[in-house]
Every structure is written in structure tokens, then in C-alpha cells.
Symmetry: C2
């Protein structure tokens, strides 16, 4: 198991008793790609630190439309899975694994106990939530103010950088969900980019042919 200091930024502010409490309570859990955390436990499972993989936090309309708020990567903390401990959070989100993911869970009950004793822990939770507030504001600005072709191009660009490859294994539907659009719209934009020789499309794969051209859409 990794170093606790890296996993919990408030570690150095804990007493030895609090450290032991946490060590005895944490456990690892695996989610397969596409697995949704049980809806009712989303808001109360506890603090999740991603060991490997990625989680996606999103909201769902009554008609089933999904809008991705942000993604949480390895070595980052998923704080909204402990939102029941924060009384100023009044909204619900869904959390899904976008790839095979392993997380370290610090259960809400233990987290709550430590948080009552140690204000550093409470402050950490609210600071992390505020960080997610910033992420959501960025997403909202993207959705409201960027044109759809820019959003698709920005998404492909970011994926290319993050995964360090010009060949992306992703479906049009997955892109649509991640950028908060519809599959048909994404397909239309991608086909336009194919015509422009920016991309090549294969089943479940997008190959970036011309990086500079892709950048020109941003």
C-alpha cells in the first residue's frame, strides 16, 4: 500500500490515534470500466483516493441526458462521495468508472469521527469541494460559451496530451457524454474533421492525422 501521506493530504496534521483509526478503517475496492457506484451510497460512501484508473462525476436529467462535471484521476481524491458529511452540499451526482479503477476508501463513519476531532480534516474536505466548484465552473463555461466544434476539438486535444497517443479508443457516444452533447452532434463534427483530413475514424477509434489542424479549431 502506498504512503498514507500522499493519499491523505491532512495526514501530517493527525494525532497517532487518528492515524491508527484511519489505517484500520480503509479498504481498497475495484470497479470495472463502465461500473456505476450504487446510487444511494454515492453521497455517503466516504473519501475515495484513486489508486489506478479514473472516475467520472456527472449529473442526469429526467430524460436521461448526461452531463460530465469533472473526472478524477489517479492519486486524486474524490470528495463528493463523502458529500453527506458536508451540510452545504445539497446536490447529488453520479459517479462512474471510465476505465478499470481501484480506489482506497476511507468510510464516511470513520471520516466523520476524525473530522469532528480535527478541524484540518474538515477544512480539507471543504477545500477539496471548492476545488471541484472551480472544475464545474470551467465545465459550465465550456457548455455555455464554446461552440460544439471547439468542444470536440478541445476534448480530442486533451485526450491526446493526457494519453500521449494520436490513436484514441473512444466511441462517439462516450465523447458526447463527456462533453455534455448528443451523439449525433459529435458524429457530425467528427465527420467534418475527417473531410478536412484532421482525423481518421475506425470502429471505436479516432486517429488524429494532423495535430496542427486539430489545434486550429481551439
Amino acid at each position: 500500500m502506498k504512503n498514507y501521506v500522499n493519499l491523505f493530504p491532512f495526514w501530517s496534521n493527525l494525532t497517532d490515534a487518528e492515524k491508527d483509526l484511519i489505517k484500520n478503517a480503509v479498504y481498497t475496492e475495484k470497479y470495472n470500466k463502465g461500473m456505476l457506484m450504487h446510487r444511494t451510497e454515492d453521497s455517503c460512501k466516504g473519501l475515495m483516493t484513486i489508486l489506478t484508473g479514473q472516475l467520472r462525476t456527472y449529473i442526469l436529467s429526467e430524460e436521461g441526458r448526461e452531463v460530465t462535471l469533472f473526472r478524477v484521476n489517479a492519486e486524486e481524491v474524490c470528495v463528493l462521495s463523502a458529500s453527506c458529511l458536508m451540510d452545504t452540499i445539497t446536490f447529488d451526482v453520479l459517479i462512474e468508472a471510465t476505465e478499470d479503477t481501484e480506489v482506497l476508501v476511507l468510510p464516511s463513519a470513520t471520516l466523520n469521527q476524525v473530522m469532528q476531532q480535527n478541524s484540518h480534516v474538515e477544512l480539507f474536505l471543504y477545500k477539496s469541494a471548492t476545488e471541484k466548484f472551480s472544475d464545474v465552473m470551467w465545465t459550465m463555461q465550456q457548455i455555455l460559451f464554446l461552440k460544439i466544434d471547439q468542444r470536440v476539438a478541445q476534448f480530442l486535444w486533451d485526450e491526446m496530451i493526457q494519453k500521449n497517443t494520436m490513436t484514441l479508443s473512444i466511441t462517439h457516444d462516450e465523447i458526447a457524454k463527456l462533453i455534455g452533447s448528443a451523439r449525433e452532434v459529435v458524429t457530425k463534427v467528427l465527420k467534418y474533421m475527417v473531410k478536412e483530413n484532421t482525423l481518421e475514424l475506425k470502429r471505436g477509434t479516432i486517429i488524429i492525422l494532423d495535430k496542427e489542424k486539430l489545434r486550429s479549431y481551439l
Copy 2:
């Protein structure tokens, strides 16, 4: 001047020296309806408690489209005007008075000094920011998932309840800005509601004729 305990929820957790520091630093300021706080000082002015009136927090696209995030009413605290003190807030907002407004300002420099000494104050700031996160999530869901006629109806309904009157003094343009839509769209919806005998429109005024009908759009 009002009771400090009501104005600053962390008041009871302060030392006498900290209380004196704040008492000597606070000042009141007046904004006329429509006045925008100076853009560069928005994020650093300090904590503002609304004494009378209302502030509106919004974002602006490059093309000048406005989207209202939330409004802050009398006896509530505007925390994003102190966002420079919170390093997890990485976005900027604009703040405008929607009516003649008087605020009590606790300047950032003093707030920062007290916050360094007293973790209750820091926690209060982040908790308040997280509360605004919840407001923004609500707004985002409205924008993404509610149809425009529902949003207009919901807005009129809320105004009617809040102001306790069936005669609302507001322009179509103001409604559009507040619900994140365009004036033309709002006018179209209002005219439809006039045809349905739900409303009557006069210059700068909307009269609600049929409460039950208005509710039926929600």
C-alpha cells in the same frame, strides 16, 4: 450598525483582539441599481454582507452573453468577493447590484490576517463557497435540463413569492440575463403566456393574472 454576530457567523469563535481588528476595519458601501463592482477588485475586495438590497453574481462570455449564477440577498454573505483568499477558487465572476444595495465590507487584508490566526474563519469561507457550489449546480441543472417556458415560469413564480406581489417591475432583458437566455426568447414565451391569459404585459411591468395557470407551467 447591526449586531456583528448576525453579520459574521464565526463571530463567537473570535478572540477579543480579533473582534477589535474586524470592528476597526469594516465599512459600509452603497451601490446603485445596475452598478457593477470594479472588475479587478471583484475577487479581492473582501467579505461582503448585504445590509439591504441584492447582488447578482454572473459570468460573461466573450460575445457578451451573461449567465446568472446566483443572487445574494439581505443578511446573506457574498463570499466570492473574497475569492483571492481561497486558493482552490480559480474562476472569476462579475458582481452587480440588482437594486439599490448597501453592504458591509470586511476588507481582504484584515480577513486574511484573522483567517491565518483562526481556522474557524477559514472554514467559514470554504463552507460558504461550497454553499455557492450547490447554488451553481442548481442553476446549471436549470439551464441544461429545463425547457425555456418552464424556466421563465419558475422565475416569475419565485419573484411573485419573494416580492409578495402579482405586479413585477422587470424588463424582458433583465429576465433573460437572470435565467441565462436571450431577450427575444423570453419575449416569445411571455407573449404566449399573455395569449393564454396568464399574464398581462405593460412597459417594464409584468402582471400575473392567473397564479394557478402560471403554476401549471412548472
